[in-house]
């Protein structure tokens, strides 16, 4: 693509990455979550593929595909954490440890990041899964049918 597109992409890509990370991180407080934030980050991959060409990002497929598998495994392991009571039991909520703080007060409140138990961890797992999966799909589709693909 032209110099204009590449320059604008260099400016937009970090901002979009930060926004995607924010949506994933605050999934238990604000609208959005792992899937939505992962889709935002995957759109950055699409932007970079359009602006700089797919060949430049070819070796990232080898990183993204194992990352997707690892994140899927992490999600299932987090679900198995509560298997003593039930599958998907939120064992960390209200425990006082990691993400274990209770909601400041019931009803409308600004929210605290250190709440919700396994939900933030699952948001991270699903977020990495979606960003790696969709990013790998975008890259694979962009490279398909090329001689050097």
């Amino acid at each position: 693509m032209s110099v204009i597109v590449r320059t604008i992409s260099r400016v937009v890509a970090p901002v979009a990455l930060a926004f995607g990370a924010y949506v994933i991180m605050h999934g238990h407080l604000t609208p959005g979550g792992g899937f939505q934030g992962g889709a935002v980050v995957a759109s950055v991959v699409a932007l970079l593929v359009v602006a700089f060409g797919a060949e430049r990002w070819k070796k990232w497929i080898k990183v993204l595909l194992p990352l997707e598998d690892t994140a899927a495994l992490a999600f299932v392991i987090l679900a198995f954490l509560g298997v003593g009571a039930t599958f998907f039991r939120n064992v960390l909520a209200g425990s006082g440890g990691l993400f274990g703080a209770p909601v400041p007060q019931p009803g409308p409140n600004p929210g605290a990041l250190n709440t919700a138990g396994t939900l933030p961890l699952m948001n991270w797992a699903v977020g990495f899964k979606v960003l790696a999966g969709l990013g790998a799909v975008v890259l694979l589709l962009a490279l398909f049918g090329r001689e050097d693909g």
């Binding site: 238990h28 396994t118 999966g133």
Partner: protein
């Protein structure tokens, strides 16, 4: 013959669609709201999450999310299999 069959099918489908639109349930008045009430009142206490939607997606109905993750996983594996580089 074919045309009459088509017209009859068209009438049936159109009748279903129009009656569905006429007798549409009014917006904002769910027939049963016990479960909604339960989620709204208990999600902050039980899951300690402000975002009730996320608490439903990842806690109350985690199985649905597991299925969704499986679908995405299968789609990515399928694309990676079909579009991989084949030697020779």
């Amino acid at each position: 013959m074919k045309r009459w069959l088509f017209l009859a099918a068209l009438l049936v489908v159109a009748g279903y669609l129009i009656s569905g639109g006429v007798w549409l349930h009014p917006f904002g008045e769910p027939a049963r709201s016990e479960m909604d009430r339960f989620f709204i009142e208990n999600a902050q206490k039980e899951v300690a999450a402000n975002n009730v939607v996320t608490s439903i997606v990842f806690d109350y109905r985690g199985y649905d999310t597991l299925g969704e993750a499986t679908v995405l996983f299968a789609a990515v594996v399928g694309v990676a299999l079909l579009l991989r580089k084949v030697k020779g």
